[in-house]
Symmetry: none
Subunit: 87 residues, 2 copies
DNA sequence: CTTTATTTGTCCGTATGTATG
DNA sequence: ACATACATACGGACAAATAAA
């Protein structure tokens, strides 16, 4: 008896490989999420969200986004955000 | 004679401690105002108002608000504003 | 119903300073 | 010297939600 429930808050933090730039590793993760369907078409990918999730600065996030834009994986509209592109 | 009245407009500007980020100092002020009751529950705290009062850019104000939101001190709704939360 | 104003959300570009590899 | 990365800060633009006229 005296059963109880422990609410454990696990903050999932990305493990970075110190031998490669963070922005390339984050880009890899996003690519994988798009490929797997975890991020469906038109899903919003916002800068602040990425900053918080990966615990990096804006400049780093923007590097990720620039790369994904050039690959055509995301489409960005000012005032709206960045979204997973249709393939 | 020839008495007259001078209307002197004194613009009260916050004095910032250059050794600490502006946004933390502004957040301190807001927290204090909420605690003291100067900002009662449901009082609107708008971004433009804070910009003008403290003479800072919007991004700085938004950082303050993000912090206060995470602390549960204010509740924000797009199109309406940020309000002092019920405790 | 339409228009306007207010307010927040998001993105863009830039800049300074610090620190590390 | 250079690239990466963080933190702070400014100012601007456009989009979307809400409320008021």
């Amino acid at each position: 008896m005296f059963g109880y429930t422990v609410m454990r808050t696990v903050t999932q933090v990305m493990e970075f490989d110190p031998t490669r730039p963070k922005w390339t590793q984050i880009a890899d993760v996003i690519r994988q999420r798009i490929a797997s369907g975890e991020y469906p078409v038109n899903r919003l990918i916002s800068e602040t969200q990425l900053e918080q999730e990966f615990g990096v600065a804006r400049g780093t996030v923007r590097k990720v986004k620039t790369a994904l834009q050039e690959e055509g994986l995301i489409v960005t509209t000012r005032g709206m955000g960045s979204f997973v592109a249709k393939r």
